[in-house]
C-alpha cells in the first residue's frame, strides 16, 4: 500500500513541495508557481474562491454542530446561536443509535453489505481482466468491448427482473442478493479499470515469466498482483464508497433486517422529517465511515477517478 507508481497525476498532492524554495534548478511546478504568482492577489479572485469554499463547508458544519445540541435547543433556535449559548450533548447519538431508530444494527448491516460487495467483484474482475489483457483467445476484443459498453446500462432497467429472480430462488431480502447485485453492477467498470492497469505492465515481464515456465498462478501472484496493488486499492475505495452510499440497491433488495444505513436514514427522513435531533445525528453516523476512508486514502480515490473518467 505504500508504493505509488507515478502513472497518473494526483492533483491533490502534486504540489506538496510547492513553496519550498530550492537554490539552483526549480521543479516544473515551482517555476509555474512563480510565473503564476499574482493570480490570487486579485481581490476578486480570492473573494470568489473563499465564497465557494464557504458554501461548500458551512452546510455540513451546521449539521455537525446541530447533531451535538440538545433536542429542545434544536427546535427553538438556529445552530449559529451556539456561539453565544454553547450547550452540547451526546444524547442525540445515543438516541438514534440505540433507541427506536436502532441505527447501530443498520451500521453493522452496512459493514456486512459493503465489504463482500467490494471483495467479490474485485476477485471476479481480476481473473477476467487478466484473461482480457494477457491471454489470447478468439473474440477477446469483441467481448471486452461488450463488457465495457455495459457500463452505460442504468441499473434501474435490471431491478424488477432481478428481484423476481431472487424471489423465485427464495433468497429475496438476504445479504446474498445485495452482494450479488452490487457485484454485478460493479463488474463492467472493475474489469475496464483493472484491464487498463494490467495493460500498462510491460509485456516483456509476462513473456519472461512464461519463458521460465511459470504458470498462471505464478504470473498472477508474483508478477502482476504486486504491481496492481495501487490499482486495486483505487477501485476498492471507489466501490466501497459507492456501496456504502448506495440507496437504490439497498432499498430494492434488502429487507427490514438486512437493510443498510442509507435506507434506514432515508426512512427516518421520510417518517420523522421534523425530528432534527435524530436526523442530524443519523446523517452524521452514516457519513463518518466514508469520510474516514476518503480522507485516509484520498490519493488512491483521486487516481481511480482520473483513470476511470479521462480514459472512458
Amino acid at each position: 500500500m505504500t508504493a505509488v507508481p507515478p502513472t497518473l497525476p494526483t492533483s491533490l498532492d502534486a504540489d506538496a513541495s510547492h513553496d519550498i524554495q530550492r537554490v539552483g534548478r526549480l521543479s516544473r511546478a515551482e517555476r509555474r508557481a512563480i510565473a503564476v504568482k499574482g493570480k490570487l492577489s486579485s481581490p476578486w479572485a480570492s473573494a470568489i474562491a473563499i465564497i465557494i469554499a464557504i458554501l461548500w463547508t458551512v452546510p455540513s458544519i451546521g449539521l455537525l454542530v446541530t447533531s451535538f445540541r440538545p433536542a429542545i435547543d434544536i427546535r427553538s433556535s438556529g445552530w449559529w446561536t451556539v456561539w453565544t449559548d454553547p450547550q452540547f450533548t451526546l444524547d442525540n447519538y445515543d438516541d438514534v443509535l440505540f433507541g427506536s431508530a436502532d441505527l447501530a444494527s443498520f451500521f453493522v448491516n452496512s459493514i456486512v453489505i459493503t465489504l463482500p460487495a467490494v471483495v467479490i467483484p474485485i476477485s471476479i474482475a481480476l481473473l477476467a481482466s487478466y484473461a482480457f489483457a494477457w491471454i489470447d483467445f478468439k473474440g477477446r476484443n469483441l467481448l471486452f468491448v461488450a463488457v465495457f459498453a455495459l457500463q452505460i446500462v442504468p441499473i434501474q432497467i435490471t431491478l424488477i427482473p432481478l428481484l423476481s429472480a431472487y424471489v423465485d430462488a427464495e433468497i429475496n431480502g438476504t445479504f446474498w442478493t445485495v452482494w450479488l447485485s452490487h457485484s454485478i453492477f460493479a463488474l463492467p467498470l472493475a474489469i475496464f479499470l483493472l484491464h487498463n492497469f494490467m495493460k500498462e505492465i510491460p509485456a516483456s515481464l509476462i513473456e519472461a515469466a512464461r519463458m521460465d515456465g511459470a504458470g498462471h498462478v505464478k504470473i498472477f501472484f508474483q508478477v502482476l498482483l504486486p504491481l496492481l496493488v495501487p490499482a486495486i486499492a483505487s477501485f476498492a475505495i471507489f466501490q466501497f464508497l459507492w456501496v456504502w452510499n448506495d440507496l437504490l440497491v439497498g432499498l430494492t433488495f434488502a429487507n427490514q433486517d438486512s437493510r443498510p444505513l442509507t435506507v434506514a436514514v432515508a426512512d427516518l427522513a421520510g417518517t420523522r422529517g421534523n425530528a432534527w435531533h435524530l436526523l442530524t445525528a443519523g446523517a452524521f453516523v452514516s457519513m463518518i465511515v466514508p469520510l474516514i476512508v476518503f480522507l485516509a486514502l484520498q490519493r488512491y480515490f483521486v487516481r481511480g477517478l482520473l483513470a476511470g473518467s479521462v480514459k472512458g
Binding site: R32, W56, S60, G78, F175, S286
Partner: protein, 329 residues
Amino acid sequence: MDFFTSPETTAEKLGLMVFAMLLFVVVMGGLLFAVDKPKRVPRWVVALCFVGPAVLLVVGGLVYPGILTIISSFKNKTGAEWVGLDNYVTAFTTDQFQIVLRNTALWVVLVPIVSTFIGLVYAVLVDRTRFEKLAKALVFLPMAISMVGASIIWKFVYEYRPDQPGIQQTGLLNQLLVWLGLEPQQFLINQPTNTLFLIAVMVWIQTGFAMTILSAAIKAIPDDIVEAARLDGLHGVGMFRYITVPSIRPALVVVVTTIAMGTLKVFDIVRTMTGGQFGTSVVANEFYTQSFRLANEGLGAALAVILFILVIPIVVYNVRQLRLSEEVR
C-alpha cells in the same frame, strides 16, 4: 440454512460476511490453480475459466434482465397483457409526466453545466496557491458522503418555520432572508423554484468531481503554451478564455457528460428531500414510485427504458468528442 439466509445477531452477520468473502476468493483462486499449467490445458478452457464467471454475471444480471424490462414495458400493469406503446404514450403525454420530463431536462442540463463551471473556476483560482490542498479537499468532501446524507444537510439549510413573533428560523437560508429583512420561504414546497433548490444539492456534490478532473487537466497544459500566451500579453480572464479552456476541452467534455449521465439516474435526492411531491419528481424517482410503490410494472419498465434511451445520446456525444480530439492530436 438459517445462518446463511437470515443471520440475526451481529456475530452471525459478521461471520456470514467473512464466509461470503472467503467463498468467492477461494472459488476464484481455485479456478486459477485448476488451469495453472498453460501447456496441458487448452487455451479456450483457460479463457472460459477466467472470463466465464464475469460474463455469466453480467449477461445474467444486466443483459437478460434488461431485455426482460424492455419486453414488459410493452405490457400492462401486471405484465399479463400486451398494450403496445401505451406506457410510453402515458409517460410522454399526461400532465403529471410532462412535469417529470421537464424536471429531468432541467436536472440534466443545469447540474453538469453549473457544477463544471464552478469546479473549473475554483480549480483555476486555487491552482498553485498556498492553500490548494486544503481548498480542494473542502470542495471534494461532499463526493465522499451519501446523497441521502447530503440531502439531509441541505434539507436542514432549507428548513422553514412559520413567520410568527417569537419563532426563530432554524434553517440557515431562511435566517439569512430574515436578516436581510425578507419573508422566510418554503423552499422545497414553492413551485416551480423548488426543483432548482434540489438541483443545487446535486451541484454541491458534483462540483468536487469536476474540480478534480479539470485541475489535473490544467496542470497538464504544457508550459510553453502558457509562456507564449503570457508573452503575447494574456492575463487573468483572457488567459482563462483563450488558453485554459481550449486546452482542457477534452476533459471538459468528459466531465460534463459523466455528470450528465450520473444526474439522469439520481433519485436519492428527490426521494429524501420531497419524495417527488410538489412537482419535483424526475424520471428515476418516478420509475421507483411506479415500479415498487404503485406496482405498475409496465409503466415502471417504460420509464427505465426511457432512462436508458436518454443515456445513449450522451454516450455517443462523449465517444465522438474523444475521437475528434484524438484526430486533432
